[in-house]
């Protein structure tokens, strides 16, 4: 039986095995200036592209494991080029740009992978909020955590969803506990 090339843009296993040895970062093709988000164009009909779909327009790949989609992007970069000429598209190995965007705290997420139930994910959500793609599960309405400070007579509850950054969180905590004198 001939191998069916999945519409998700997966390569054949043989190609994947080849690519594992490659330093993909050095030959990474980026559309547009470093730090800009390139629009993802798809020529496949209809259905979701699964794994490669999840990559948020940020083409910075970790270079291990995601061989199939790496290859799809590398080989078929034209699939994703905007119609007009992109003069920033440099086929030569690019010098690694210093990232003006903060390095993602988490990898781009595939829906339903790793296979962890929502209840568990929500319970673990006291970790820094991850970047989700739009159709990943929605954030829980409230992300209450109880905060305890040494010396404070009682705990405080706070909704992590209200704070966009560590700085906000930390100043809110300060205010919350400032009334307790040690």
């Amino acid at each position: 039986m001939s191998a069916e090339k999945g519409y998700v843009g997966l390569g054949e296993v043989g190609e994947m095995e080849e690519s594992i040895g490659l330093n993909l970062k050095a030959t990474e093709l980026r559309l547009g200036l470093p730090g800009s988000e390139s629009p993802v164009k798809s020529t496949s009909l209809g259905a979701k592209r699964g794994f490669s779909d999840a990559i948020d327009g940020k083409w910075v790949l970790s270079g291990n494991g995601k061989a199939g989609s790496d290859l799809a992007l590398g080989k078929d970069a034209s699939l994703f080029s905007p119609p007009s000429d992109n003069t920033n598209n440099d086929p030569l190995p690019l010098p690694q740009p210093s990232k003006p965007i903060p390095a993602p705290a988490a990898k781009a997420q595939v829906v339903g992978w790793p296979p962890i139930r929502s209840f568990r994910k929500n319970s673990m959500a006291t970790q820094p909020p991850q970047k989700n793609e739009a159709d990943a599960e929605p954030k829980p309405g409230c992300l209450y955590v109880k905060v305890s400070m040494d010396g404070a007579p009682y705990l405080r509850k706070m909704d992590l969803n209200n704070y966009a950054s560590y700085r906000d969180l930390s100043s809110a905590l300060e205010k919350m506990f400032s009334c307790f004198t040690l």
């Binding site: 069916e4 998700v8 594992i20 790793p114």
Partner: protein, 584 residues
């Protein structure tokens, strides 16, 4: 006198049948002859429906008029991971309504992955006078108002278990709706509730129910209220704590330790959200009696985990986060020789880099040290064929093996080869393997192994694996006992599916998403197999608006005697005999 030798009074047969409880055996009895079928169906008290769409309420009621216990499952397993869109189905209401009319003496309802409304709960509360057991596992669609109806009306309720359901938590007041005269509670699991319940009502309820054996609290129950609850139920066998943290005070600690020590029958512990490590020693006195420990929400580091686990010499079941690390698993292997089940969950599944020192070695240690280990669920970031081989040879008694290497398509990290041989060793050596989940880099060869050796395999989960239809063909043609097959993101397509169409009637269900099955093939399958429901899911629009060769987004095929279902949302189409598509 010859006649007497041939005929057995029905009552005697009925009495004999009452000792046969397994569904399979009951089914066999009913096939012996017409009169046995009749007798059996009148005295069947318990029924399990693995797929609520495989049969309909009228069909069930017509065949089994005197049920006392019904279990129904709705959505496919991958719904747990958000692969099944909202509104897909699995509605409990039609079942509950029908049963309310047909089974006034119904005692037990167990639902899994179904949509349950408050209205349904109200019907349950008012229709069954002797209602005893309500288990809602991974269900959704109801609020605490529905629970209030149950609490207020079910005088004989023994068990209320909401495990992992999504409940709209409007108020904790519902618990107070159990009347003061109500004392028959034996098992309560509210661990999924988001908000605080009325703690005073909870304490009173717990202390007035002398047969309470299982109490699983939710995160919102503060630790300092736990001692009181425990003192009210010293006969508890299973406890799920709430948040396991409080400001560190010696009197709170000693109170807690004393309360735990008073529970001489406590065998199962869970909960442990937000653990403050200094409070863990409060459970040390009872560790030696524990057989089941669920620390999978306990974000504590290895040393604290190791200490705790090393004291649980009778442990049979451990669920834990990967904070336990390889070192901790080595201690587990040395201390807990009775271990039957291990689940290790990832603490940082979406992180780019490993945050803990947990590798394949941990699992190898446990496979070496724990001779009774049967069931494994393991999340990790690297695996090798050698390790899998060792595990397989160490533990041929494995019955459930679910491995999740977090990065899809990860090869053997030592050789960079696919993990075909490793998983092949698992299926070859573990002859009683019933459930298997694959991950990592896998070619069609692993499926050849599975088809060849996986003769007892009942459930297989596959993701990001395989090269071609041959892979799927191996599984469908080789696994004689396969009941459930779920596949995502694999290059499996039409040929294997159509060539093995008849196999699908011997299985409960097949799920395929982000694969290469064409719309045309789905239509053909639906036409060829009238006793299968072939459901195509596509959120981007009707599949017939695209060429027939276009792959479908999601495919769910299941056998049924009830025909195509009528409650499908707009993004689901059934491919049936006349291939008519419902216009949404």
């Amino acid at each position: 006198m010859k006649k007497a030798a041939y005929s057995f009074p029905e009552e005697v047969l009925e009495h004999v049948f009452s000792f046969i409880v397994s569904d399979k055996d009951r089914s066999s009895i009913s096939l012996v002859c017409k009169s046995w079928y009749e007798i059996e169906r009148w005295c069947r008290r318990k029924v399990f429906v693995g797929n609520c769409y495989a049969v309909s309420p009228p069909i069930l009621i017509k065949r089994f008029p005197e049920l006392r216990s019904v279990t129904l499952k709705g959505k496919p397993h991958f719904a747990d991971f958000n692969l099944v869109p909202e509104g897909w189905g699995g509605f409990a209401c039609p079942w509950i309504r029908a049963m309310a009319g047909a089974y006034p003496w119904l005692e037990e309802i167990r639902l899994k992955r179904m949509v349950v409304s408050d209205e349904s709960l109200e019907i349950i509360a008012k229709s069954f006078r002797n209602f005893k057991v309500l288990v809602l596992s991974s269900c959704e669609g109801f609020t605490t108002e529905g629970l209030a109806a149950i609490a207020a009306n079910c005088r004989n309720l023994r068990e209320l278990d909401l495990r992992e359901s999504e409940v709209e938590d409007l108020s904790g007041r519902w618990l107070s709706d159990f009347p003061d005269s109500y004392t028959s509670l034996e098992s309560l699991n509210i661990s999924c509730l988001g908000n605080e319940v009325n703690l005073l009502a909870l304490e009173r309820l717990v202390s007035r129910c002398p047969n309470l054996k299982t109490l699983r609290l939710n995160r919102a129950v503060p630790l300092d209220r736990l001692p009181n609850l425990l003192r009210g139920a010293p006969q508890l066998a299973e406890l799920g704590t709430g948040a396991y943290t409080s400001e560190m005070r010696p009197d709170v600690f000693s109170n807690l330790a004393e309360a735990f020590a008073g529970c001489k029958q406590l065998k199962t512990l869970s909960g442990f959200w937000d653990v403050l490590p200094s409070y863990l020693p409060a459970v040390y006195p009872i560790c030696s009696q524990l057989i089941s420990l669920n620390l999978s929400y306990a974000t504590v580091q290895s040393p604290d985990l190791i200490k705790l686990v090393s004291l649980c010499e009778k442990l049979q079941k451990l669920w834990v986060l990967d904070y336990i690390e390889d070192d901790g698993l080595e201690v587990l292997a040395a201390s807990c020789k009775d271990l039957r089940e291990l689940r290790v969950f990832p603490s940082d599944p979406f992180g780019l880099e490993p945050n803990v020192a947990l590798t394949e070695q941990g699992l190898v240690s446990v496979s070496e040290g724990c001779p009774k280990l049967q069931s494994v669920l393991y999340f990790c970031r690297q695996m090798s064929n050698a390790a899998l081989n060792t595990i397989a040879r160490n533990r041929p008694n494995l019955t459930r093996f679910r491995l999740c290497i977090i990065e899809p398509r990860s090869p053997d990290y030592l050789t960079l080869q696919p993990l075909d041989d490793g998983f092949g060793a698992i299926v070859e050596h573990c002859k009683d393997l019933r459930r298997l989940s694959l991950s990592g880099l896998l070619t069609d060869r692993v499926f050849e192994y599975i088809g060849t050796y996986g003769k007892k395999l009942e459930m297989l989960s596959v993701a990001f694996a395989g090269d071609s239809d041959l892979g799927l063909h191996h599984v469908l043609s080789g696994c004689d006992n396969l009941r459930k097959l779920e596949i995502r993101d694999c290059p499996f397509g039409d040929k294997a599916l159509l060539a093995n169409a008849a196999k699908l009637e011997t299985m409960r269900s097949l799920w395929m998403s982000s694969c290469s099955v064409s719309f045309g093939a789905c239509k053909v399958l639906g036409q060829k197999m009238p006793r299968l429901n072939v459901e195509v899911m596509d959120e981007s629009g009707p599949p017939d608006s695209r060429p027939e060769s276009s792959p479908v987004e999601k495919l769910y095929v299941y056998r049924t005697v009830a025909g195509p279902r009528l409650d499908m949302p707009g993004f689901v189409w059934t491919m049936d005999d006349d291939s008519a598509l419902r216009i949404s």
